[in-house]
Subunit: 390 residues, 2 copies
Amino acid sequence: MNRIQLVIFIFFVSFSLPFSAQTDDMVKEDFQASSVNQSGKEFPKVNSEGLVRVRVEAPKANNVQLDIGGMKYDLKKNDEGVWTGESAPQDEGFHYYQLNIDGASVPDPGSKYYYGAGRWGSGIEIPAQDQEFYEMKDVPHGSITENIYFSEITQDWRRNFVYLPPGYFENFQERYPVLYLQHGSFEDETGWASQGHANLILDNLIAAGEAKKMIVVMDNGYANKPEVMQNAQDGDGRPKSAFEEVLIEEVIPNIDKKFRTKSSRSYRAIAGLSMGANQTMRIIMNNLNLFSYYGGFSGTSNYPGNEKIDTRTFLNGAFEDADEVNEKLNVLWLGLGTKEPEVFFKTVGDFREMLENKGIDYSFYESPKTAHEWLTWRRCLYQYAQLLFK
Amino acid sequence: MNRIQLVIFIFFVSFSLPFSAQTDDMVKEDFQASSVNQSGKEFPKVNSEGLVRVRVEAPKANNVQLDIGGMKYDLKKNDEGVWTGESAPQDEGFHYYQLNIDGASVPDPGSKYYYGAGRWGSGIEIPAQDQEFYEMKDVPHGSITENIYFSEITQDWRRNFVYLPPGYFENFQERYPVLYLQHGSFEDETGWASQGHANLILDNLIAAGEAKKMIVVMDNGYANKPEVMQNAQDGDGRPKSAFEEVLIEEVIPNIDKKFRTKSSRSYRAIAGLSMGANQTMRIIMNNLNLFSYYGGFSGTSNYPGNEKIDTRTFLNGAFEDADEVNEKLNVLWLGLGTKEPEVFFKTVGDFREMLENKGIDYSFYESPKTAHEWLTWRRCLYQYAQLLFK
């Protein structure tokens, strides 16, 4: 069994084994309603040890489970037909989860809903030691604007969310640099401004004078041409993505036309998480005339390869000339959570080794005690945004 | 049993009786995926007769129901543990619904989610004959902007969504009139720009030259002072709302400061649906120095009274001087769906009778074949917006 097969094996085993909820005498009874519950909803709750307690009324059910972090925990029914139970301790930060009621995987009616893992569903927040950096504070707030456009390339209506920094609406003379910020696989353009808290992270950094005022554009990384969906495919059997074409030919010109941007390459950054890190690294290296800052959060374009990187062929030789890369990229930034799956350590590690062998400057950040999840990426944005446009 | 008791009786009976799904030979097999399904989801589906068909995998369940329009329809299980079934025909337009799995009321994992009926949950769209007016078309699109503010009155963070018309971001010299547009009870500030399609309705009207370019502000109609929530209550046992104070003292000054508005009363309109119609009528009649256009969609401030309106006391005598009302209100507009519950016909009817007795000018619109639901209110906005600021 190779490494990838092992990861897949563990993944499926973890989904197939039911776990009993914690026994009552182990549980610390300081549960509080999750900060992302629906208005007025008491459950789900979280305690100081990161246990998640859910409650659902299902008087006629045979079996109800809490499905979180790749594990399923059996709940217990009381005399009124109400099921309750807890998970094992969860990592700090944001997690997707769901309930399983007699075999049906459904959202928890107590939580707010988020797009991730390929569906709109429940999310929960385990309070983090450092959560202050993405909290709502009494500082000037920017705005999130929904920007609809028709793509001639994909022949459909698309949208992005645009963060406009505090003062954008009042100061008609000021122009701002732009960060293009992408989500991961099975996520969409809603993630960064919702569970990602990109707006609050920027508001707080800007208020503290730790980041420049900037516009942040969050588009949808899934884009296909109509005919490509039918015919051509790239090597791994998936339809070839048209996202680079959409971003370069449609999104950037549209943003530069509609908003008061600084539109030279020195004022344009790009970053992404996981699949978005992979996509945006490819895009910036194909378009060094357009961008000068790169951030890869939990991903690189050599994912998921097992081979060492050959700079003569990798991304069409884009890293072959170290001097050019050092000159063109003001910041080349990589971040990773310490609890991420091995494949990310391996591929990001291979990429860093290549950079070091070539003598290419870069920054590397490790998010303590977080996995391939949103607290890692919130922290990455917090770190990365401080380096931009300076 | 009086009329109100009868309505309440029918309401509860309708929730307690399970209905069998349509038998197969009655069902027209031209179902299509709902237009508001999650990306890639095949179910729920709708056929040309307005039947809703749901499907959910729940192999261990004893009983699964579709709960829509105040009725519960039993689904049938196949050999693979998948439950399927249909509702009776539903009215054209948008409806909230949910699944009931062995007694648990949960969102359908196939639909997108909306805030209404006091929860985030499933919604479905039955295609309407006239849906063209709120469709996404190849016209210039305005933007929805999320505007966060701290309310000193309620001592909490609040937000509104602001529709900025096409051209707002590019034409720095242009100023626009403003419509304040409110949701109904158990709904929130997300409704009008989501299931309400306020942005698309305005985009289409503006492109056709049928409405003036305007800003639309959609705030949350629930607002309470911290101390009021503990102590004072008005006559009906609910805490006294601080929404009028928040709107007049905080929201309007904030909007006029942040956005390029025309800020005189001739360029300010207000409207709301159901509870929002009731609230906004009270607000405009208390503040005729600030607004000159009123729209009441499925509601008036005499709701739910059984008595005829006494203009000497109703809203502190605001309708007593007909000449003043006629002079101050450029438009007094009322709308109602033909299938609304009796209490709305009665109270809106009483209000119209009062206006006619006093000789106060008004417009009245009936939405054909719609109940107390969003297609009524989309149509109301479509009609009302055409009359504003002309």
